[in-house]
Symmetry: C2
Subunit: 350 residues, 2 copies
């Protein structure tokens, strides 16, 4: 159907919701009308098949949904409101038009949920696999924007939700993949067609682990937390989203704010399924929470005086406080031992 045909098919039912979207898909550029007095927030992500996602266990619709969410999460992490995204896709021959529509459906779903318009993009071919590049555009009043560099001594360190679940979900999926590949190999070697067919159609049993999978496959950007903070009249002094793991992000805030921190292991929020899965896999659950990544929760600091107010917000937990830079970045373990925090977050370049 060609590039233009595919773009037409993908974009024909796009409804622009935002008054700031003046012109969406169909010209050399999208044209946006910034809301008076706001600044514009821009973030972008490039996701590559085999590096950021494995289509063996990631459904395309989920992939589209997540690809959008991780960008919206960056806008919320500035305390902004996402308004538009552009979507560029590079697609190899192994994908059908229906596949791409499914991917796009997931993107549209994420956009609808957050009242975001798809205003442009690029669709092209790839020699190998799928590449997805999304740019999100948002806005906020200058006084509302929260950077990473505003944390001050005695500020409280807060996180939303819980950590490590997405990483455990990934471990679970990877484990099932290894099992499947092994069983399939054996079936092929013994030319057992019935077994091969059974394996093709079998679904692994994830009972009791649904939450971990949901966190990995369908993360949600925490607009609710941004709204709750605004409602409680709390302006964080620094904020970012947790995509590479709590340790790595805390170190970013500390280095940009030129401060130290003390974080308490027993305050790090964990879900029961995360802890159970870590135990089953013989992994340290705190390590998973600190370094796992892909949580897309918010990490932020608030003045000590907001202790009562922030403690009342549902799904937010104070995990420590900001110190003088000279005191280092410290994790206080359950047994009272102290360790220097290190960034061991997921590194897509290794």
């Amino acid at each position: 159907m060609g590039e233009f045909g595919l773009i037409r098919r993908l974009t024909e039912n796009l409804n622009n919701e935002n008054p700031s979207t003046h012109k969406g898909v169909g010209d050399d550029c999208a044209v946006l009308t910034p809301t008076e007095g706001t600044q514009t927030l821009v973030t972008t992500d490039l996701l590559m098949e085999g590096v950021h996602f494995d289509l063996m266990y990631v459904p395309l619709k989920h992939l589209g949904y997540k690809a959008v969410m991780v960008n919206l999460s960056d806008i919320y992490a500035m305390n902004g409101t996402p308004r538009q995204i552009t979507v560029s896709l590079a697609v190899s021959k192994k994908f059908s038009v229906e596949d791409i529509e499914e991917l796009y459906d997931g993107m549209k779903l994420a956009c609808e949920k957050h009242h975001v318009d798809i205003v442009g993009g690029d669709t092209t071919s790839s020699l190998t696999g799928l590449a997805i590049s999304i740019t999100a555009i948002g806005e906020a009043l200058p006084k509302d924007i929260v950077y990473r560099n505003g944390a001050k001594e005695t500020d409280l360190i807060c996180v939303s939700g819980n950590l490590g679940a997405s990483y455990m979900g990934l471990q679970l999926l990877e484990r099932e993949k290894v099992v499947f590949n092994q069983q399939m190999k054996e079936a092929q070697e013994s030319a057992n067609k019935a077994e091969m067919e059974r394996l093709q159609n079998a679904q692994p049993d994830f009972t009791g682990r649904e939450y971990l999978l949901e966190r990995q496959l369908k993360p949600e950007a925490r607009r609710d937390i941004i709204e709750a903070l605004a409602k409680a009249n709390i302006h964080p002094t620094s904020m970012m989203d947790i995509s590479d793991g709590l340790s790595s992000e805390l170190l970013h805030i500390c280095s940009q704010s030129k401060v130290g921190c003390r974080v308490y292991e027993d305050r790090i929020p964990l879900d029961y399924q995360t802890a159970a899965m870590a135990e089953e896999m013989n992994m340290n659950v705190t390590t998973c929470a600190l370094n796992g990544g892909e949580d897309y929760e918010l990490l932020f600091t608030v003045p000590l005086s907001e202790n009562d107010a922030v403690s009342k917000i549902e799904d937010v937990r104070v995990i420590g406080y900001i110190t003088n830079e000279s005191l280092g970045k410290i994790l206080i373990c359950r047994d009272g031992n102290e360790f220097e925090l290190k960034a061991q977050g997921w590194n897509p370049l290794q």
Copy 2:
């Protein structure tokens, strides 16, 4: 050196030139301050190795330069001013840090030339080859923005520069590649090490073809034309840049403006080198100019009353005029024969 190290190295010398760039690289989002009264223009492109570029003959610095230029060209095509870009790269193991710096140097050069800031992006790994995704952001006063849908009957159709040269440059490079591969194969088969070494170090002789290569490898976005139009007080009724070939772009303007057109073959601007190369390759030079693509010239329409004014602008040529939709989209050949224009532009999905 990891993702953060590479990003730091690539972005450490970035100077933000634009007053509208409030915060560049280093937070969850870039923060831009729109100039009062302007609308924001957004365009994005995803370039994949093996589809959009061949590193056998495209130097990385040129690739970076071109990747930026094609996006700036889209901003100018709206009659806007580019202000910022984001750059996302996915890089496979075959590239060294120095390679990526070279690519980035080309991007910086293009940005400096057009006073554009690099304000963010993403750097990640790829299993196969290089992927480059650039988003450009620009601005313009609402009254200045030119869309594709404003062409009116009797308007003059204008193009800047000349057409088909970039396509002929590509043909030339592809021909040399075939020759090189053939010679190398023969040398390898006869285990002729001296010849293999000679071939590795040999540079093909492109004397007299430099312009074609420059157009293919180092296209320039036509800010000068936008400035000349403004200076002459000419407001085009429609405009776009020529990336997929004149035919394809003219058909876009006609269909979006609901008009027809008559274009004269003998008015289509060609460079001498383009014509000579087409003859040597036994190709129809008009076909190359109509369907070649990657010219990054501007195609625009102006009211008939601007005939004198537009004719005085250097490097702009009137090639035809807009008609009623019912009259079709017609090319009038040198011999007086008339043909329906068809889009046979380069299709990256085929």
